[in-house]
């Protein structure tokens, strides 16, 4: 483990201190741009923005409980082909993990990227956030910060966090180059800055920060937060299995689906240029609809909604990082995230695969092992 440094809080302004840190990164010689969540003109919206002017960082707000989209998708756009410039990016842990998955799918590259991650307190669904921030957008972030940091409840000011965040067991930026920590310490004094890769150490050496020992309380804080989340996750998964365990139940679960494909667009992992559901593959002949309806007496339209979700589960569940943007995007409040995480739990376990853990782990479907799942593929007993 490399050196842990201390980012002292400047005039009790935690957000300002973080902005200051980003500014010092941006002013480093070979960093051309910082991609960070930025509070926009419409103050109750926080979106990722490419920032090249250090001044513009004063609107950067990586601590806001806003998560309008998973920025891994944006990182894919920025790094699919070399730009010749280096980007520092502030990402949530689930965004980092999604981005690592995209890198494995050759939809992005880590070479010219410096990832900065922060401990994550979770976020509200988009509509809830706008209500939460409406009254006092500028003060809302720190109000949330202290409430969420001290509380054990996943409800702040009577408003529930996004379902995905409530069951998230990865609130720490394990895959970041630079991790900024505040849980389990006294964040009004300083934040922890830790280089987690050799690349990060090279940059941090240029930013003058004092070394510090990790305070004793942090370990416990981390552990207790994760364990309560794991409990919540497991309860959610068993509820979801109960609700979707048969084809009929699954169909009922997805009844509200109108094939708007919002969940797919919001999914950071769904990387296909053109989804198979938008291609000629699903361009059925009119007589085929009628034939199908005739066969079973009734055919729900739009057709292929269950097949659509099943297909996405097959394609993506091993890489699902549980960011919850699918549920966030659903106009009919289908608990899509729950279905994906419940499925992913088993598909990921089957291959002992954890998405986003390491770029060196190949996606399970791209690896062929002859003697795998002997009982599933009918080779039981073969050596």
């Amino acid at each position: 483990m490399s050196l842990v440094r201390k980012l002292a809080i400047d005039r009790q302004d935690i957000l300002g201190t973080v902005q200051g840190f980003l500014r010092s990164i941006l002013t480093l010689e070979d960093i051309a741009v910082v991609l960070a969540p930025r509070r926009l003109a419409e103050k109750s919206v926080v979106m990722p923005a490419l920032i090249t002017q250090p001044d513009c960082l004063s609107d950067a707000d990586p601590l806001a409980p806003a998560f309008f989209l998973n920025a891994a998708q944006m990182m894919s756009r920025l790094t699919r082909r070399p730009s010749g410039q280096k980007i520092a990016v502030v990402l949530r842990p689930c965004e980092i993990r999604a981005f690592i998955e995209l890198v494995k799918f050759k939809q992005g590259a880590l070479e010219d990227v410096l990832i900065i991650g922060l401990d994550c307190l979770g976020a509200y669904p988009n509509t809830v956030y706008r209500r939460f921030a409406a009254a006092d957008p500028d003060g809302s972030t720190l109000r949330f910060f202290f409430a969420a940091l001290s509380g054990v409840s996943e409800t702040v000011e009577g408003m529930e966090l996004a379902s995905a965040c409530r069951v998230c067991e990865h609130p720490f930026p394990e895959g970041a180059d630079i991790a900024i920590g505040f849980m389990g310490i006294s964040p009004l004094d300083y934040l922890l800055v830790q280089g987690q890769t050799p690349k990060a150490d090279a940059y941090l050496a240029q930013v003058k920060l004092e070394p510090v020992a990790i305070p004793a309380g942090r370990g416990d804080a981390v552990a207790s937060r994760v364990s309560s989340r794991v409990q919540a996750r497991d309860a959610m998964i068993s509820r979801t299995h109960e609700a979707t365990g048969t084809p009929e139940k699954l169909a009922a679960y997805l009844t509200g689906c109108i094939n708007c494909y919002n969940c797919r667009n919001a999914c950071p992992i769904c990387y296909c240029r053109e989804c198979v559901f938008c291609t000629d593959v699903f361009d059925h002949e009119p007589f085929q609809y009628l034939q199908k309806a005739g066969r079973s007496g009734s055919l729900k339209l739009p057709a292929d909604t269950v097949l659509y979700h099943l297909t996405r589960l097959v394609h993506m569940s091993t890489s699902c990082v549980g960011c919850g943007q699918c549920s966030n995007a659903c106009p009919n409040d289908i608990p899509v995230m729950e279905l994906f995480r419940a499925t992913a739990r088993y598909s990921q376990k089957a291959f002992e695969y954890e998405p986003g853990r390491s770029v060196a782990e190949p996606p399970p479907m791209s690896v062929f092992k002859e003697h795998e799942f002997a009982d599933v593929v009918g080779l039981k007993g073969k050596t």
């Binding site: 050759k106 240029r273 291609t279 002949e285 007589f287 791209s366 050596t383």
Partner: protein, 1147 residues
Amino acid sequence: MNPEAGEILVVGGGVSGMQASLELAETGHDVMLVERAPYLGGLVSQLDHQFPSNHCGMCRMLPMLHRDSGEQSCLRKGLRHDRIHIRLSTDVTAVEGEPGNFRVSLRKAASCVDPIQCIGCGACVKVCPVETPDDFNAGLSMRKAIFQAAPFNMLNSYRIDPAACTRCGACVSACPTGAIHLTDADRGAFRILVVDDEQIVRDSTAEWLIEEGFAVEKAASGLQALDLLGRSSYHLMLLDIKMPGMDGVEVLKKAKDIAPGITVIMMTAYATVETAIEAMKSGAVEYLIKPFDPEMLLSMADKHYQAFVEAADEKITAGAIVLTGGAALYDPSGDPRNTLEYGVLPQVVTSLEFERMLSPAGPCKGLLLRADGKPVSRIAWIQCVGSRDLQLGADYCSSICCMISIKEALLAREVSGENLRADIFFTDMRVCGKGFHRYKELAESAGHIRFIRGRVHSAIPEAVSGDLQIRYVSLSGIEKEESYDLIVLAIGQRPHPDMPRLAERYGFSLNASGFAESLPFSPSETHRAGIFMAGSFSGLKDIRESVIQASAAAVNASRTMSVLSKSFPQHLDTKDIPPFPDVSREPSRVLAAICSCDAALDVCMDAASVVQRLRQDPAVQDVLFFNHLCAGQDRESLIQEIRQRHPNRLLTASCASCADIFQEVAVAAGMDPRLSVTADIRMPVLCAMSSSKALDTAAKMQQCADLMNSAISEGLVRVKHADAVKPSETAVTARALVAGAGIAGMTAALAIADHGYPVDVVERSDRVGGNLNWIHHTLDGHDVQPYLEEIRQKVESHPRIQVYTRAQVMGVWGEAGHFYTTVAGPDNSVMQFEHGSVILATGGAEASTSLYGHGTNPAVLTQKELETALHSDALASRELSSVVMIQCVGSREAPRNYCSRVCCQTAVKQALALKSQYPDVRIYVLYRDMMLYGFSESAYTRARREGVVFIPYSLDQKPEVVPAETGACVRVFDPVSDRRLEIETDIVVLATGIVPAFTSDDGDIFGVERDPDRFFMEADAKWRPVDAMKTGVFGCGIVNAPLTISETVASAQAAAMRALRILTRTTLASSRITAVVRHSLCSRCQLCIAACPYQARVLDTEADQIRVNAAMCQGCGACASICPNSAAVVEGFSMPQLFEMIDIAVQ
């Protein structure tokens, strides 16, 4: 090829015969493949699983390039290839002539069941009253006289066993399609008409003939005879001369007008002999003087019957012949000792019988039950039954039984579960093939198979349980007992009983054991020019060796044709498809043509529902029914219908074997053949009919109708979505690269160059010959140096071979058919070439060692050092009184955990040589298993007779060598005398084994992986033993696996054959079913590249596209299944197609 040279005849349709045929067909030869049995596959068709995968992999023999020239399906069902003409149930009856012009007669045994008419319903089997042992199940179960010869062989499925059939005719009346013709069998096919006015003569003559099996009809007068002749055909007429009304001579003249081909024998009384002789002028062939006895009549009838049969023989001309007649297996009941009471105790079975017991299609449906119904939980395998047995005159090892037993033991545990006890009693486990030793170790460690060294001498059944108590003697002479449920005898080889007759017919010679003998150093050549052999014909071989030798025999047969015709095979052009109108933008308009196979399918086809189902789809334009679509009038009318109705796609429903014909029909009618699909409606019928479900006939018929409907609907889906994509092609560079100029490289180069293609041979050292440079003679006593000299001269004087010594291949880039190769020569020179195929023959060397004091103790030599010393003066000055040889030095244990195959033979060879040079020398060979497989066993026997002492040692008690004043002292534990020995010896000779000259850099250069023992990794250990996974690259000789010289020659010739399959073509065209990329959809995630097992996909970084090498792509679909949005698709398996097919299947 030169049409005057005719085709190549392959006799025997086992694995070797099929492999040889495929090799020859794929290099442009027409092949006649003759098999005596009614199915292909030989012995292997009775074995369901093969090591090392313990699956079946027979289909891996099928062509991977130009796959469309043959059927890509299970070989147990049958083989189909454009250039292979298959004759089943057929014997070769005569061979004469010389290379380039062998004249061969073929005789087909009648099956009595018309394969076109037979729908496989099995009604005949139900009514047949005769039961007889089923050969296919090694006699373990019974079958009827009308039967299916092999369970998987779907076509020509039923036939009548003439020896068992009583001609009762029950099957004839039971057959719903009239497919059975009993008279076809033997003499029943020979129709005789007896014409005599005297009833007593007429009747008795007819009766005698009928009793002999002839088909006989009678006529009482000339008029009646002529009437019969007008109505049906006869082969022979026995005609009385003196008859009232029309006399015999007049009848004869008129009969010859009606049936000119008929043979007529005049029957005459003594008085009219003159007339009979006169009648001969009018066309009678002989006469019989009345009264005649039956013998006279019958011998005459038989003579004409034989002539009739011979006339019906198929006569072909063959330029060369490949014999792959296989071998017989030993029958232990023939052993007068038979101490294990095979044939008496049902608990004692042979290994072949056990294979059938394991088979789900076998007598106990794969459940491993004993004849008395008891589930089997303890099995003993007893090795060397009928082999290595001097009392039986079997001074040979049967080579393959050790591995068969290990495999059977593992399979038995798979079937019966982990509690099954599987013990193998052996003398030496001869696991000396590639990967065998590892397989055995795995069987021991993971499979819990027990290996017990000892000879079993008797088996005694326990009265109540029926279990067998066996007694055996362990190595140390202690008698032990064990109890088993079942004993499996690992039976060895015997030459086929016909071998002497075959040797005479074809003119090859037999070895002392009665197997075919090959030329020294060339196992596929017989002593007769133009006649080659492969497989177990020259002694039992496993699949890998059979496949290699079959390829070698094929290349030699092909070479015979090339050299004789002097016109080297011109590059084969792929079938040129003329341009057709582009209909890709038009909506599909399908014409469906349904064939009833001469009304055979009418009984189970529901025409109305076929029409109704098809009409549901607006893409169907017309539905037409035909009776015999594949030929004649119906074929012509289909062409007319297509021309008139202008469909843009053609769906035919018929037998799968007719698919080619309908492609031609499409072309004739101006349609793109790629837009024609044939739905197989015969196979579903056969499946439904032969299903074991107890259904009444009506229910079965309904099931047939449903399955046919589904098959037709599926065909419709396929044709509706069919795309007329032109296969892409790679131009072939007709030049080969051979890396390595040892005997393997030189042999491969000669085989290719003799076919007319230039070859570049690149050799690292400064001389050709490799290891043969230091080997002087073989175990068989053949001199190596003259042979090497002969090959060296041939290579160096060959106009098409260029040898580069002190050179090294630095890069092989590109793909099958077109590689760019870089060769570094002496003095930093660099040469660039283009090659179509690449053969890796870089060989190997004796492993170095520092064990047992080698390198420090001058008395310790390696086998190679001994060979050198024996042929120089180094040893001559010394008086040798004692030599110790230690086998398996640094071998068969980590890190070199393999057997080098040749060291035991070498040790025996050197021991015999030392004995002849120093008659009094004492020789001790310390070994783990003496690997004297095949006929080399006899040398082992000889060595023991000459007093060479063989002492087994185990890994935990290795010998020790300590330096002594002169020579060394060797300490070893002798399990036979159960004590430690100390042997004072002059020299110690270490067998260190072979290491391949193949680094991981070489692997990268050639695009070839290395196996766990660092040898060349083949695409498939059994079925594609010299192919690399990368198409177009081949590996032979000891870089591939340790081999003897003659085995190396065979593997080199095999590699040459494989390379020629590419070089003989101008282009390599992809098959119809290959993967393509829809670039507009592709996200370049490259998962497909990782998923492709054939390395057929690359990312073209310049174009930013995924490219597929269509020739290398095997259409397996791994890319299509990993691609999330169908940007990777396999032609003919588009998603809409598959969706519709699923709909049909679940309907």
